[in-house]
Amino acid sequence: MENEYSIIVKNVTKSFRIYHEKRNSVYEYLTSIFDRQKTYEKLTVLKDISFSVKKGEMLGIVGFNGNGKTTLLKIIGNIYSPDEGTVVTNGKLTPFLELGTGFNGELTARDNIIIYGVILGFTKKQIKEKIEEIAKFAELEKFLDTKLKNFSTGMNARLAFSTAIQVNPDILLVDEILSVGDILFQEKSFDTFMKFRKSGKTIVYVSHYIDQVQHLCDKVLWLHEGTIREYGEPKKVVEAYRQFAESKEK
């Protein structure tokens, strides 16, 4: 029964501390002992969220900025721990939250591929075998030994994307990353993404391209002010979301 699901999110609540006046020194800490004012406010970003994603399913998450989408992804990805509730994931998980994590301009593209690959969970040997393939996909074969600081933003992003797609996880968390590079590269990355989808990976996809979400996803979740406003059929949810957005505009 449990194995049918890749991700089970149960009653997750998460709040952050918003500091009035951030106290982060020993001196300030010592003086604050005598001055017992509350220095932070609790901001609840997610309230009692529950849902589950079946194996091989693609879940889209939509919602306005600041309504908890990225926080939710980070909780699923074990980067934040929830205040209450539990998250269970079955299988190897890779977060694609921001590409190029750990890139260092002073090192060559080759070194950076290795570091990034290892951060994403490869062994050094595995990633070394893939360097040529990655460079080819990124169309950067000639620049493998160039320092990354000499790369353009687009080149940087292409390199990061090409490395990231080498991972072979069971669950992918994707946060707005298909908009990297020029149109040609976007198409290429979109195709790769679809391959992941066809090979039965579980995907959680956060995006503002609601048309794309509607067409690609099996289910859509609309987060509004930290709660699930709607969940289910993509067409229905996206339609409701669109109407809500339009009514807000007026």
């Binding site: 952050f16 501390r17 982060n24 020194s25 020993v26 001196y27 800490y29 990805g77 074990n78 980067i79 934040y80 721990s81 977060p95 939250l97 921001e98 994590t101 750990g102 260092n104 002073e106 090192l107 070194d111 290795i114 570091i115 290892v118 951060i119 994403l120 490869f122 062994t123 050094k124």
Partner: protein, 259 residues
């Protein structure tokens, strides 16, 4: 629970090693003299201290240059390992905010960077052994054990400091001052028996003191540490490591939000 931790860290050994190696690369690449710097830094320090403590203030320590150099190298290890470990979580915020792995890994790899740098300095040390026509006693083979202990010791301090430094940023400066004081209350440029007994007893509480004492004995004088010293070294390392680890476990839960 804890063997689960060891397993998770073992699975990420590639990551630990690669972060450390690239750190070493960057550190040497940034300075003009590059790799040579690792030899020059202790060398210059050695030259100054040697001049002062043989010409200005007399001492009668046998093989003084080697005594001095050995102490310096091990002190640099304490200093670098804890300083780099302390700021490691802040420096690698970009990574740990986006990918999950045991946060301890970041601190371990920083201490490993210091360990690698100490390795290079011991190369320089062996060069000096040859220059001074010194024949090291057989007890030198036990030195690696002591260095492993030193690594665990500094890792314990680093775990403790790294996570607290996320909350209290000025701990960095406080620790730097403590280290500067530490340099003078540790027998690096002098020998402990130059002091009257009551001062010696106080200084010996510093857990680095018996470690350095033992190193000098093993490498230069062919003497083994006493049982009491050995136990003190092992016990103090264990205690510091356990405290550091526990503080890290408790305090690291919310650090991502505080970075």
């Amino acid at each position: 629970m804890s063997d689960n931790l060891l397993k998770q860290i073992w699975e990420k050994r590639s990551l630990i090693v690669i972060l450390a190696i690239n750190d070493v690369k960057l550190r040497y690449r940034k300075s003009v003299l590059g790799f040579l710097w690792s030899f020059l830094e202790p060398l210059l320090m050695l030259a100054v201290l040697y001049f002062v403590f043989t010409n200005v203030i007399k001492n009668n320590i046998q093989n003084y240059p080697l005594y001095l150099l050995l102490g310096l190298i091990m002190w640099y290890m304490v200093q670098r390992s804890t300083l780099m470990g302390q700021s490691s979580l802040l420096e690698r915020a970009g990574i740990i905010q986006k990918v999950y792995f045991r946060r301890e890994i970041i601190v371990i790899s920083s201490c490993l960077t210091a360990l690698i740098m100490m390795g290079f300095e011991f190369l320089a040390f062996s060069f000096f052994i040859v220059v001074f026509h010194f024949v090291p006693p057989v007890t030198i083979v036990l030195l690696p054990l002591l260095l492993i202990d030193l690594f665990i010791f500094t890792l314990g301090i680093s775990l403790f400091l790294s996570v607290l430094t996320v909350y209290f940023r000025d701990l960095k400066f406080i620790w730097q001052i403590l280290l500067q004081m530490g340099f003078f209350v540790t027998p690096i440029i002098y020998k402990l028996d130059m002091f009257p007994e009551y001062i010696r007893n106080i200084l010996q509480l510093n857990p680095i003191v018996p470690i350095l004492d033992t190193a000098h004995g093993l490498v230069l004088y062919g003497s083994l540490p006493t049982l009491k010293e050995t136990l003190y070294i092992i016990a103090s390392t264990a205690i510091i490591f356990i405290i550091g680890y526990l503080v890290f476990r408790i305090k690291s839960k919310r650090i991502i939000e505080e970075l």
